[in-house]
């Protein structure tokens, strides 16, 4: 693997996404803000913090996972564009890393903008340190989610299955884990289920970052390192 090749891939993937930039902005920026504004209008400040955590987790997990899985499945299985890259110099890790960087370039500015706009719209105050730590945590979430998506995208031969599975998987992960609400409102049985879901730790990590709780952040990130390791080994096996 050469970092230079990964950067080349991410640069040109970014250029090739110019035609759907408006859709991208809508999904990653306008919709989350719209939801938060509606939340403010409805008025339930108790859940504001959780909804913000959920919005950041949604952007840093859902988008990279689904986009990477579907794009890789199409690049590898539905077209031969993956082979065009591979045969002309890139290896599997170059392509995987290139795609992760592309996802980071796509999602991190969106998360930063969302946080900044939230402060303006909802009057929540976050320090620079809180924003930076949250972005660093989001980076780890994007990395692991994108690698998991890559493993799914190139591991499954039928790209139509990947298209569907990649859209189905995130919903139980987002709804059964305490992403948009506190874990205390979950029934006892579902609390146990949520402990097995990576999104629980993503939400804990983002929450720990936003409130600057090092213990919570450390615990969640430790689980993340394991998830990242599993993602990498899945990528290795798939390639």
């Amino acid at each position: 693997m050469r970092l230079g090749r990964a950067m080349v891939i991410s640069k040109y993937l970014l250029l090739s996404s110019r035609s759907w930039v408006y859709a991208a902005v809508s999904f990653t920026l306008i919709y989350p803000i719209l939801w938060l504004v509606l939340l403010r209008v409805v008025g339930n400040p108790q859940y504001l913090q959780y909804f913000m955590v959920g919005t950041v987790v949604n952007t840093s997990f859902l988008t990279p996972f689904v986009a990477t899985a579907q794009d890789m499945a199409h690049l590898r299985r539905a077209s031969t564009r993956y082979t065009v890259l591979f045969s002309n110099g890139a290896d599997h890790w170059d392509i995987a890393l290139g795609y992760v960087v592309y996802m980071l370039l796509f999602t991190l500015p969106s998360i930063a903008s969302t946080l900044l706009l939230l402060m303006v719209i909802l009057g929540v105050h976050y320090s620079v340190v809180q924003v930076v730590v949250t972005l660093m945590t989001a980076l780890v979430i994007v990395l692991s989610s994108s690698l998991l998506g890559y493993a799914l995208g190139i591991g499954v031969k039928n790209y139509r299955i990947t298209d569907q599975v990649s859209q189905v998987i995130p919903w139980p992960l987002l709804l059964l884990a305490p992403v948009y609400y506190p874990i205390t409102i979950l029934p006892q049985a579902l609390r146990l289920v949520s402990l097995a879901l990576p999104t629980t730790y993503m939400a804990l990590a983002i929450h720990g970052s936003l409130v600057l709780n090092p213990a919570e952040l450390f615990r969640a990130v430790s689980v993340f390192i394991i998830i990242c390791g599993c993602s990498c080994s899945l990528v290795f096996k798939s390639s």
Binding site: V8, L15, S16, S19, S79, V84, N88, G89
Partner: protein, 284 residues
Amino acid sequence: MVKYKDVIVRVECLWKRFGGVVANECVSVEAREGEVVSILGPNGAGKTTLLRQVYGELRPDSGVVTVMGLSPRKAKERGVMGVVPQEATPFNLLKVREHVEMLIRLRGVPRGAVRGCVDEALEVVGLGEYGGRLIDDLSGGMKRLVLVASAIACRPRLIILDEPTVGIDAQNRRSIWNVIRAARDEGSTVILTTHYIHEAEELSDRVYLMNRRIIMEGSPSELRKVLPWVEVRVDDTGETFRVGWDEAVGIIDDLVRRRVRFEVREPSLEDVFMKVFGGPHEAG
């Protein structure tokens, strides 16, 4: 004996199976510097599988593939290969120039040389005016030319073209032929697969006929000699004779004396192909 550095691609007794299906059966192929080598065979003969092992996308079950004395992976890392895979489609939402740039930068061409290489490659394939256009806006044949331009840019030592002219018109096909000849003249080795036998005959220095294993090998003229006949077609009656040269001399002499219009045709590579692989029902 050929020195190793003259041999760009060496494939020795390569085996590849997919489940119970044998795709390559002890295939041995060699491509030397400045040669155009064609690999011909019916559908499902294992040509693409062989090429995918040469550019490192598949690992052989057994046997050895070397490119310039290196493993395909190492050779690819050094940027010696430009490849148009089978049924490849370009990144349609890039501009033509960006696509060529992307692939030559993946091959490790220094940033300073990129612009010149892109300009030259686009001129060679006749897309000089289209550099700023989105690939999505081009015709199917021109999209194919974008891939060819991306593969030949900066003259890699090895160019692999897996059915580069399939589904494109005669003019664009001629452009690709010219590109292949120019690449060979400048010392690149070209490995080509095609279903247009005439194309292989026009371009190749050496031809391999394969159907899972290599069946015949040689220059087009050597392969044509396998068929010991000439075809004499009498225009007036439409009669066609396939006879040996000795017999043909007598027939031609007789036709000349009778002042009958006729044509003489030597066997083509396509005749050899049909002889080796059989008619349409047998090929497959």
